[in-house]
């Protein structure tokens, strides 16, 4: 009877529904869950504090963390066992393990960024770090002398040439694979896929042996740019192919039905609709190319003076500057290395922000 009554009355009519008919909250966290978690957390800390630091007289934060983690899982497990069936216990233990693993990964990754910027701060806070080169500056000279301008300019020139070479080729290949096709397109796809993860040092070595040893071209920014382009083309082509493939074929068919030629369809319909994807592909490849250290090491050589000429003379770049500065093991030079690393990191961050921006732009415009 009471159920019938409750079904017919609604809260609007001023009758409060019986408690039993309230919708059950799904996946609620009970007080028991919270307390057993906090309890295990605190008790395991206390156990480890006493056992590890005082009874066993050990030291070291890493060992402390690891034993805390192990003890915590053990305590949490035994607490959960009291009131829960086995599968719930396993679920909770795995959830806790996963969360802790992610925290470790994030701390480790975050520390990379933070550490680079903190160590590089001394160099970054000097204006001359951005406005002068290392010509005639000894590794032990104070941070008021010398800077990374030559490496910065070198990186920009090299990556500029690499973009000019690799983006048309990469996007052309992507268009060939998706729009034109043909018998060869499968082999192109296979080779391009295989080459996306080719060790960059091999591309550098190839250019070194062919251009520099065989043809006697001197070490130069151009040689490095060509090698970087060789590693970038497969990345652009592969990511570009994915971007082109998701363009709805209805658009292509509509364009053809209106009488457009294939070229007009690709140029006016397919490429513009895949613009965001293609931009992302390019930026990903550029982010990879900017950080390339092995290729400039082999192909361009490290110069300490400023040059805008990519042909005929050695040219420095940021990753190579970092490496050569690190190799000296001079404290000030290492600080410069970290400064340059911060600038490089900032460049990658900017490129990445640009990607996010473009992708978001695309989503909001739809």
């Amino acid at each position: 009877m009471s159920i019938d009554l409750a079904v017919r009355t609604t809260p609007d009519e001023g009758v409060i529904a019986p408690r039993s008919l309230k919708p059950r909250t799904v996946r609620s966290v009970t007080k028991d869950d919270v307390l057993s978690f906090i309890g295990s957390f605190v008790s395991s800390y206390c156990l480890v504090y006493i056992g590890y630091l005082h009874l066993l007289d050990l030291s070291g934060w890493l060992g402390f963390g690891i034993s805390w983690y192990v003890i915590f899982v053990a305590v949490y497990w035994s607490v959960l066992r009291v009131a829960n069936p086995g599968y719930v216990v396993r679920d909770r233990i795995v959830a806790v393990t996963v969360c802790i693993a992610v925290t470790i990964v994030l701390i480790a990754l975050g520390s990379t960024v933070v550490y680079t910027f903190t160590k590089g701060w001394d160099a970054l806070s000097h204006v001359n770090f951005y406005t002068s080169d290392m010509a005639g500056v000894s590794p032990t000279a104070s941070l008021n002398h010398g800077g990374i301008l030559n490496a910065l300019v070198g990186t920009v020139i090299e990556i500029g040439i690499a973009i000019a070479v690799s983006v048309p080729l990469g996007i052309g290949t992507a268009v060939y694979m998706t729009e034109v096709g043909g018998r060869l397109s499968t082999s192109v796809r296979t080779v391009v896929e295989a080459m996306t993860a080719i060790p960059e040092i091999l591309a550098g070595l190839l250019v070194y042996v062919v251009l520099i040893v065989e043809f006697g071209v001197s070490k130069s920014g151009l040689a490095a740019a060509v090698a970087i382009a060789v590693t970038m083309v497969p990345i652009v082509a592969r990511a570009g192919e994915v971007a082109l493939r998701v363009v709805p074929s209805g658009l292509r068919e509509a364009s053809s039905a209106l009488g457009a030629t294939h070229w007009k369809t690709v140029y006016k319909v397919v490429l513009p609709s895949a613009r965001a994807g293609l931009a992302t592909a390019t930026i990903l490849a550029v982010a990879r190319g900017v950080g390339e250290m092995a290729i400039p090491l082999v192909c361009s050589g490290a110069s300490s003076f400023m040059t805008f000429n990519p042909v005929g003379a050695p040219m420095n770049s940021l990753p190579l500057f970092i490496y050569t500065a690190y190799v000296t093991h001079e404290p000030l030079e290492v600080t410069r290395a970290f400064g340059a690393a911060s600038v490089l990191l900032a460049m990658v961050l900017l490129l990445f922000a640009a990607t996010r921006f473009i992708v978001r732009e695309k989503r909001s415009s739809r």
Partner: protein, 333 residues
């Protein structure tokens, strides 16, 4: 009337396909030549390396693969130690990175709240784009002074296992710290940092495609989150997990910058991963090409060719596994 008569005089039906216009022929020709050009250039890396390796392999024969030392001045050149180092570093990197990449990917796709999720996805993708040289500096300056304590601990308690053996007394009051620096272990840790984001973002992409219907069905049957992951997400994404791991392995095998910064160079077949000193193929090339004579250069290219074959095999395997897996295939419901 005029139109009708014209139609009657010319009864041949108009062709539906008028053939390609000039602009299309130019476009197709250009696209095809670009494709073929890229095929030639990228493909030529392999052919060229193989061609250049011939004189070396001819000269040293099988000794090239069994000789431990790299002493061009004594005409003793071999890649046994280098290959071992390459594989060891990559394996340590995989052992460390796999559990972290897997759990991080699981967390992002299954556990994280929605708002945190998009933030985490960007963070991981960003970390995958950080230049290796920066991870190298991190590994040398931040990780190494701390990791040697872990290395010492491992050698103290697990030293009876051959790979954890270190030929110095780990229990000495003033222990020899330099015996633990620049080891395979530390290089592997550094590289694992580099490949965790890479493997994680591949795995996460696959986990996200796990069929929602099947997940909901598992939950409706009373499954816990772990149950859903074990019975739906992991079986569905097996291909992606293996593929992502192999991609990371390919990257770890060929890494130059981070390894070059971290390791202390030594040639040997001891296999003690905690002990200072190792060498990898790409680091060997990077540090020896400069003063190489013609024959040494050929030897370096041969070493590069071996590395190339290994990477291609790993990548090809990864591509095949990803393609064959159920991931991305249409599902019911």
């Amino acid at each position: 009337m005029a139109i009708n008569s014209a139609a009657l005089t010319d009864p041949v039906p108009r062709k539906i396909d008028p053939g390609r216009q000039l602009s299309d022929r130019v476009f197709h020709g250009t696209a095809r030549s670009v494709g073929i050009f890229v095929l030639c250039v990228t493909g030529s890396i392999g052919v060229f390396l193989g061609y250049q390796a011939i004189p070396t392999l001819h000269h040293y024969g099988a000794h090239f693969f069994t000789e431990v030392n790299w002493e061009p001045e004594l005409n003793r050149i071999g890649i046994a130690a280098v290959l071992l180092g390459t594989v060891e570093v990559a394996l340590v990197a995989m052992v460390v990175s796999f559990p972290f990449a897997l759990t991080a990917a699981l967390f992002i796709s299954e556990y994280a709240p929605k708002r945190l999720k998009s933030w985490l996805v960007s963070a991981i993708d960003l970390m995958a784009a950080v230049p290796p040289i920066i991870y190298g500096l991190w590994g040398f300056f931040l990780l190494m002074p701390r990791a040697i304590f872990v290395a010492r601990w491992l050698s103290q308690y697990l030293g009876f296992i051959p790979i954890f053996h270190v030929s110095t007394d780990p229990n000495a009051g003033v222990w020899q710290q330099s015996a633990y620096t620049g080891s395979v272990f530390i290089a592997g840790l550094t590289i694992s940092m580099m490949v965790i984001p890479l493997a994680c973002s591949v795995m996460r992409g696959v986990f996200d495609q796990a069929p929602l219907g099947e997940k909901e069905a598992a939950m409706a049957l009373g499954g816990t989150k772990l149950g859903v992951i074990r019975t739906v997400v992991i079986p569905f994404s097996k291909g992606g997990i293996i593929g992502g791991t192999m991609l990371a392995l390919g990257r770890a095998l060929g890494e130059t910058a981070a390894v070059l910064v971290v390791i202390s160079v030594a040639y040997g077949l001891s296999g003690h991963i905690l002990e200072s000193g190792t060498q990898t193929t790409s680091a060997l090339i990077a540090s020896n090409f400069g003063d190489a004579t013609k024959s040494v250069l050929s030897a370096l290219l041969a070493a590069g060719f071996v590395l190339f074959l290994i990477t291609i095999a790993v990548n090809g395997g990864a591509a095949m596994v990803i393609r064959r897996s159920r991931s991305g295939a249409g599902t019911e419901i």
